[in-house]
């Protein structure tokens, strides 16, 4: 497989010791096998995520992304920006497109960047890691590296919102995307293509400000996975992963449920299937341990 290089935007939550540090670890482990080099954008900053709007307003928020794109264009010239986090991807791509269509905003951002000695060309594609896997590697490509097929595992693919909307993956529908199911099948596991909560919102950033409302939705997401007999949930989004995984105790306490549903990243599935260890695949980063996956990794 030809070597591929991308300008990598890991985002705040993927940093060491942050809530999705396991995403970063497993991504690196996965890319290692796929011969993908991720060149981190030097000195990248936060994208503002989906909650920053209330503090920053339009231009300051978009300027955050403008700075990242400018830095990428300066240091990783010619490389497409790839993000693993849905919000990072969304914010950056949205900023790029807004600048394309709105000259006032573009000029404003440019003016602001100049203060920090930066300049925006805005000519860099902004992609999600999932797009890289599907479009640049392909399902067959993913499959070809599998050493330990995840046989016997039934995994509900939970796509969530922002990996899926408003941009989504080319050729997939907003309501019933199938790419995650196909990826799950590519690594030898069983998918749940009829999983009806696959694009249900988990509450996103409102998990912090409106926990009751958010947890009610999370409950539905987990319940449906149980209904379909899933062993675990897999997702491409750090916020989805965290929200669906870490509040299970709270939900159990409130609703009397007995949830113990592991929630993992697709990158962890691929990493394990590629023969990487549980640690390399950051399974130690699970709050709800993914025991079946660990067993498989240790085989």
């Amino acid at each position: 497989m030809a070597k591929k290089e991308y300008s990598f935007y890991p985002g705040c939550s993927s940093q060491k010791g942050a809530t999705s540090s396991n995403y970063l670890t497993s991504t690196q482990s996965m890319c290692d096998v796929l011969d993908i080099t991720l060149n981190e954008i030097p000195d990248w900053n936060c994208c503002g995520a989906s909650i920053g709007y209330g503090g920053g307003g339009e231009l300051p928020r978009l300027t955050l992304s403008a700075r990242n794109i400018a830095l990428s264009e300066q240091h990783n010239a010619g490389q497409e920006i790839v993000a693993t986090c849905a919000a990072c991807w969304l914010a950056t791509r949205e900023a790029k497109e807004r600048f394309e269509h709105n000259k006032t905003l573009f000029d404003g951002a440019q003016q602001a960047l100049a203060e920090g000695g930066l300049s925006l060309k805005n000519q860099t594609a902004v992609r999600h890691m999932v797009e890289v896997l599907i479009e640049d590697i392909g399902y067959e490509g993913i499959k070809s590296g599998v050493k330990k097929p995840l046989e016997g595992l039934k995994i509900a693919g939970y796509v969530g919102c922002q990996t899926n909307r408003p941009f989504g993956i080319v050729g997939e529908s907003y309501e019933n995307p199938l790419y995650l199911d196909k990826m799950i099948e590519s690594v030898g596991a069983d998918s749940v293509p009829t999983y009806e909560k696959k694009v249900q919102c988990c509450g996103g950033a409102l998990a912090m400000s409106e926990p009751e409302k958010s947890q009610e939705m999370i409950k539905g997401i987990i319940e449906a996975a149980y209904d379909h007999g899933a062993d675990m949930i897999a997702t491409p989004c750090p916020l989805c992963q965290a929200n669906v995984e870490i509040y299970q105790n709270d939900i159990n306490a409130k609703y009397g449920t007995k949830f113990d549903m592991p929630v993992v990243y697709y990158s962890q599935l691929i990493s394990i299937a590629y023969g990487k260890s549980a640690k390399e695949s950051a399974l130690d980063g699970q709050v709800v341990p993914a025991k079946k996956l660990e067993e498989l990794a240790n085989k």
Partner: protein, 208 residues
């Protein structure tokens, strides 16, 4: 900020739609709404909105400025983008909701203690310190947003969660001390300051 509110209200008088078009993010798409209601039906938190997006758009047309801006409805937006992709008229609903929320904040008319508004502001302030979010500090600041007493209560209630996260290596006490920041924080601050100035000028200009 209430000066701005008075000024804007005076300038646009009854025509709230024009005001929205002028100052709210993606506000120019509001006029295209045809009241089909698909946004309201698509919202995962829809039942918690006193006025769902479709109704807000009608209220904007009907000039119900105060009712809209002082409502906590748009703060219910989870940014799931369901409404945007389903809207048959290209109304940028998610962004308009963010825009209205931000505008209400700017005007200083957000209902007191609106939790999402608070979190939103804390998040922004947090990231503004060092260019990246410090999750631990953010989390703590959210626990303590309603005062010290509530903060302790929240922290205790979430102790187990925090412990779990630390055990999993996904929350680090180190963050409290050092934490992730960007190197060129000075340059970053200058950039955002400038962007903020331009943003402010937009509102000032619109109010004139």
């Amino acid at each position: 900020m209430s000066d701005l509110n008075t000024a804007m209200a005076a300038k646009y008088r009854a025509n709230f739609l024009k005001e929205v078009e002028a100052v709210v993010e993606e506000g120019e798409t509001v006029k295209m709404c045809m009241q089909c209601g698909v946004c309201a039906g698509s919202c995962p938190l829809g039942k918690h909105w006193a006025h769902p997006p479709q109704e807000i758009f009608m209220m904007i047309r009907a000039g119900k400025r105060d009712e809209v801006l002082k409502s906590d409805s748009m703060w219910m937006c989870t940014s799931c983008y369901n409404c945007i992709v389903r809207c048959p008229r290209g109304v940028q609903i998610t962004h308009v909701m963010h825009g209205l929320a931000y505008y209400a904040k700017r005007l200083g008319v957000v209902p007191e203690g609106q939790p999402t508004q608070q979190v939103s502001q804390l998040f922004w302030d947090n990231l503004m310190k060092g260019g990246r979010v410090n999750e631990l500090k953010l989390g703590l600041s959210i626990y303590f947003k309603d005062g010290f007493g509530d903060g302790i209560k929240n922290a205790m209630a979430n102790q187990k969660l925090g412990m779990n996260m630390m055990k999993a290596g996904r929350m680090s006490p180190m963050e409290f001390l050092s934490g992730h920041t960007i190197k060129d924080n000075a340059g970053f601050q200058k950039i955002i300051k400038k962007a903020q100035e331009i943003e402010d000028a937009k509102f000032d200009g619109a109010a004139k």
